[in-house]
Every structure is written in structure tokens, then in C-alpha cells.
């Protein structure tokens, strides 16, 4: 019995430090973030296309392309694009500010992903409407989790 208790205690002590890091990998709702961006305005589905590979071997650098269907004229253009993660410790991955002179609402970059998840892009248009699109990505090796 004593030995069993000791083993259970030792196992617990070994597992405990791992918990906070595991907790970070939990899925977080991005709803509050979306509300902060839209200010309560309705979020429409569509017009935004977010492209990520379906399978990423390494979450430390994943190519990302976001496009918004917009004529990009002075009367109708995309003001900003927000990139949101439901699993990264910092859910607001990036915000891009465009303007009338941007010409084409397309941005490419490379992102970090802390695990398989759905990534959402929210675009604010010059008429005050908000549109979103998302992409599901499977990440084999997560960013942020390794000690290398």
C-alpha cells in the first residue's frame, strides 16, 4: 500500500508541471474576439477565402493566403482583415489594414499554428459590413509546444 501511494504521488508530481502547457492547447472560443471586432454588427459568411494547407507537417511555418471578393475601389473596399485562431495562445494572429489604394484584397504570409484547428479570417468592408471565411488545418507538429 505504501509503495502504491508513493508511486501515485510520484506520478502526480511528474504530471503536474505538464498541465499548464497542456491547458494552453485547449480550444478557445473566438466569439468574444469577433464581437470586439464587429462591435456587435452581424458577421456574414462568405466573400472571404482563407487558404491554408489541409495538412501541415510543421506548425511553426504554415503558408497562408487570404483573399476578399471586393472591387477595391474608393467607394467599395476592404478596410481590414483579422486572422483568428481558436487554439493558439494568442488568438488574434494578425490584423492587416488595407485601403482604397490597395487594388487587390489579397495577403499572403506564413503563420504559426499550435495544433490542428480551424482558422478564421474576418474582413471589415468600407460599408461597415463584416464578412468571414475559415479553413480547417491538421497540424502534425505543433508550434509553441516543443522546447527546441
Amino acid at each position: 500500500m505504501k509503495r502504491r501511494h508513493f508511486l501515485a504521488g510520484a506520478a502526480g508530481a511528474l504530471l503536474a508541471p505538464a498541465l499548464p502547457r497542456a491547458a494552453r492547447a485547449q480550444y478557445n472560443s473566438i466569439e468574444p474576439l469577433i464581437r470586439a471586432i464587429t462591435g456587435g454588427a452581424p458577421l456574414n459568411q462568405g466573400r472571404v477565402t482563407l487558404e491554408l494547407p489541409q495538412l501541415a507537417d510543421n506548425g511553426n511555418s504554415v503558408p497562408m493566403r487570404v483573399t476578399v471578393a471586393s472591387p477595391m475601389t474608393s467607394a467599395d473596399y476592404v478596410k481590414s482583415i483579422h486572422l483568428l485562431s481558436e487554439r493558439n495562445p494568442v488568438p488574434r494572429m494578425a490584423t492587416f489594414h488595407l485601403g482604397q489604394r490597395t487594388g487587390k484584397a489579397e495577403i499572403r504570409s506564413r503563420v504559426r499554428l499550435a495544433g490542428s484547428q480551424r482558422v478564421t479570417a474576418v474582413a471589415e468592408l468600407s460599408d461597415g459590413s463584416f464578412w468571414s471565411g475559415s479553413a480547417q488545418v491538421v497540424v502534425t507538429l505543433s508550434a509553441c509546444m516543443d522546447e527546441s
Partner: protein, 105 residues
């Protein structure tokens, strides 16, 4: 901080041009530990600005969610000759900038 900017040297007026920048930066997340278990302090580029002749063309707010050596590609319509200036700042307050001129015909 070393950066590489790629923009066309010249363009026709009204032409859509592609701007690309890659900056040498670790984009340290603040979630990694060093070899003796100490947390490595977060240091990422938080803001990047692209101006043409002083007027804003593009601006980005970045986070640890952007990969090390951040790469960005975006567009603008060529309207006037001049100088593109890219400037950025990281968590440590270090600033960097890169300039490149364009001739618009």
C-alpha cells in the same frame, strides 16, 4: 535587422503591383524555454507599416502567430513614382526600415 523587399523597379500608372517583404527576426513566442528551463522572453514584430511617399499603403499588426522571419505579400495600385518605405518595431522597441523606389510611367 536584415530585411529583403521585393517590388517592381517600374510600373505603368494604374497597374497592380505586388509588394513582398521578409524580415530576419526570431518572432520569439514567449512560450519556449531555454536549455535550463527558463522561459524565453517574448519578442515579436508587433507592427509593420508600408508607406509610399509618406502616405500609408498597408499596415499590419502581428503576433507570435506569425512565423519566424515574417513574410508578407500584398498589393497596391501604382499611382506615382516615389519611394516605398517599410518600417517595423518589435517588443523590445527595436525598429527597422527598408526603402525602395519605383518609377511610374
Amino acid at each position: 535587422m536584415v530585411a529583403r523587399v521585393q517590388i517592381p523597379k517600374e510600373a505603368k500608372r494604374g497597374e497592380l503591383i505586388e509588394l513582398r517583404i521578409v524580415i530576419q527576426h526570431p518572432m520569439e513566442t514567449g512560450y519556449r524555454h531555454d536549455e535550463i528551463g527558463r522561459l524565453i522572453k517574448r519578442n515579436v514584430i508587433t507592427s509593420l507599416l508600408c508607406n509610399l511617399n509618406g502616405a500609408e499603403v498597408f499596415r499590419a499588426e502581428l503576433s507570435p502567430g506569425i512565423a519566424a522571419n515574417p513574410y508578407l505579400q500584398f498589393y497596391t495600385v501604382a499611382e506615382a513614382s516615389g519611394e516605398f518605405e517599410f518600417s517595423w518595431i518589435d517588443d523590445e522597441g527595436k525598429r527597422g526600415s527598408e526603402r525602395q523606389s519605383i518609377v511610374v510611367r
